[in-house]
């Protein structure tokens, strides 16, 4: 194979070996659109509620899907693909938390505030309650995956990278704390 044909094939995205490495579960454009329609809103809700930042959730949702399409995806069907997508999103969220955050309001990008002004009231109504806001990010993550998404301990371990044995204990503690906060909120 000549260099010219190799390069032109690569530009068309069909160089030998590269398609196999890159195609996630052999999903074509239409299949992806259908999968996206079914999975994007739950993924966004997860990211928005765990990060408590809808703008960040917008960005991370998009990036999750782009990485999902670029990666070698699971081949066991939609459930596994969705779990894999949540795993990518969880890793992106973790990377975001690890990065140094702006220290003051002045350092925050202005569009972070401007873009959401019109919807602030609606979002305040439906945003995570004060109880969930008081939880640690990892606890929010575990609670959301377990009780909003309905994932089993094994699936949560796969998504978060934590040990299956520790999930049970972490979830138990997080659930107890959240229930206490919810009751306190309800009583107040």
């Amino acid at each position: 194979m000549s260099w010219e044909s190799t390069i032109s094939n690569a530009l068309a995205g069909k160089a030998a070996g590269l398609v196999v490495d890159a195609a996630p579960a052999a999903m074509d454009n239409e299949e992806f659109a259908a999968f996206y329609a079914r999975s994007a809103r739950p993924l966004w809700a997860y990211l928005a509620r765990v990060s408590r930042d809808p703008a960040l959730a917008d960005d991370l949702t998009q990036e999750s899907y782009v990485r999902f399409l670029c990666a070698t995806g699971p081949e066991e069907g939609e459930v596994a693909a969705r779990r894999y997508l949540f795993k990518i999103a969880t890793n992106l969220l973790r990377d975001h938390w690890r990065r140094p955050q702006p220290a003051s309001l002045e350092e925050m990008p202005e569009d972070r505030f401007a873009a959401r002004c019109g919807t602030a009231q609606t979002e305040t109504q439906v945003m995570l309650g004060p109880a969930l806001a008081q939880m640690r990010p990892r606890d929010r993550q575990l609670l959301w995956l377990a009780y909003a998404e309905g994932y089993s301990h094994r699936e949560i371990a796969e998504v978060t990278g934590l040990g299956t044995a520790s999930i049970r204990l972490l979830l138990f503690r997080a659930r107890r704390k959240m229930a206490q906060l919810l009751r306190k909120e309800g009583g107040a």
């Binding site: 995205g13 992806f32 949702t61």
Partner: protein
């Protein structure tokens, strides 16, 4: 009930997952949930989070799937090109290393003959036919320096353009 769970927790969880709680569940189990702290926590947290999920989903401002597909295609192509360029870069580095080794070997080999080489250069380049022997070095040195300078600039500009 144990320290970290209740024996009926999975039963309650399954009813919640299937949407049977509270209407389609046995009266006895509802009584248990009222008395059991662990199961009542489970019901409270699950109901809250499922409600949050339901309310949050319509708020998502989603990009068109076609745009994401296109971005992924671009990223894959760039990755493919980068992957292909890696061996070429390796070959270039290898060639440069070989050239440097060869040059170093020549330098060592000819270490004692440099002055002879330099004085013999005008004759080797046939410059003695163009200039008189007295002015030869004064012309040859600036000309060679200018050629070297221009070559360097051209090489730099070509590499920048690439």
């Amino acid at each position: 009930m144990t320290a970290f769970g209740c024996v009926r927790e999975n039963e309650v969880m399954e009813l919640l997952r299937q949407g049977y709680w509270p209407d389609a569940c046995p009266e006895e189990l509802r009584g248990h949930v009222e008395r059991c702290r662990i199961c009542s926590d489970l019901v409270l947290v699950t109901a809250t989070l499922k409600g949050e999920r339901k309310e949050a989903m319509p708020l998502a401002r989603l990009e068109a799937p076609g745009a994401l597909w296109w971005r992924a295609q671009l990223r894959r192509r760039n990755a493919a090109i980068e992957k292909m360029a890696r061996p070429i870069l390796g070959a270039e580095v290898f060639a440069l290393a070989m050239a440097l080794v060869f040059a170093a070997a020549v330098l060592v080999w000819q270490a004692g003959n440099w002055s002879e080489w330099i004085w013999d250069l005008p004759r080797a380049l046939h410059l003695d036919t163009l200039f008189s022997p007295g002015t030869m070095m004064w012309v040859a040195i600036p000309v060679l320096a200018t050629i070297a300078l221009i070559s360097g600039v051209v090489a730099y500009m070509v590499s920048e353009k690439q």
